[in-house]
């Protein structure tokens, strides 16, 4: 566990599509070159969606390490929060899959806690053997939160859009 001096490396990401919220509902639209990668996703009820907090991709947000969250909790480090303020502004949402259309690249979902136009980075299948934890402990400030995801997932607060 020696402290080693190491230069930070940077990596680059490409967007694979966008989140949409419009009169058709909420959906992920995958860009044409990536649509074949959706093959077999419809076998899963849920997916983990990685996206870019594009409204927090600035030096001030990315250099913030602690803050006072907008709910009843003490000052916390950003690694103890899911907020957009973090060194690498990657969002992670578990979503329920309603349908997958490979031709149009559209994955319909009931809800997601990301704005219209949010850039998408990745989709991974929700596999309970990797992703569902039976026995968890959370801090007192979150002790009254539900013990599993709402059936239709999480939306933005307040309201569906």
């Amino acid at each position: 566990m020696e402290q080693t001096k190491q230069k930070s490396k940077t990596y680059h990401l490409d967007t694979i599509g966008k989140v949409h919220r419009d009169k058709h509902g909420m959906y992920l639209q995958i860009d044409e070159p990536y649509r074949p990668a959706l093959e077999g996703l419809d076998g899963f009820s849920h997916a983990q969606v990685l996206w870019w907090f594009d409204k927090s991709d600035d030096e001030a947000s990315r250099s913030t390490t602690k803050f006072n969250p907008p709910f009843d909790a003490p000052i916390l480090g950003v690694f103890a929060l899911k907020a957009p303020t973090r060194p690498n502004p990657i969002g992670l949402s578990t979503v329920r899959i309603v349908s997958v259309d490979m031709a149009s690249g559209i994955v319909m979902i009931p809800r997601i806690d990301a704005f219209d136009g949010t850039p998408l980075l990745d989709i991974k299948p929700y596999l309970p053997s990797f992703d569902r934890v039976d026995n968890t402990r959370v801090p007192n400030w979150a002790a009254h939160w539900p013990d599993s995801m709402p059936e239709d997932g999480i939306s933005l607060d307040p309201g569906p859009n």
Copy 2:
């Protein structure tokens, strides 16, 4: 749902630390500037760790959309798999937290399915109200897999190191 022609944007990531697997066990070591961001993480039993599949950060892996996985399953799109071969090679592991030491930036964990030296991108708390799904469906090829994560998490296969 009109098809809109859009130019792909790229985003940049900084490493926040590394995965270590050595005589001390398995742990995450967070770089000095990011250590304050660990405040409060010890209130959680589990975390989601985002990391970079640095061995798959090449043009061939990043442009692969489908392949035949190394287990008994059909050819699948990369968004229906958790494999390193994907457009944005971001890994996601749920880990159990054993201890958090803010001074050294060390988060001890029993297991992780990432190699020694893997670059870390983010840590998020495991919040059952966002991350635990009660009723899931998986394809036939995964139907015999466990219905929750092993108590100590997932390691590399085979063996602990």
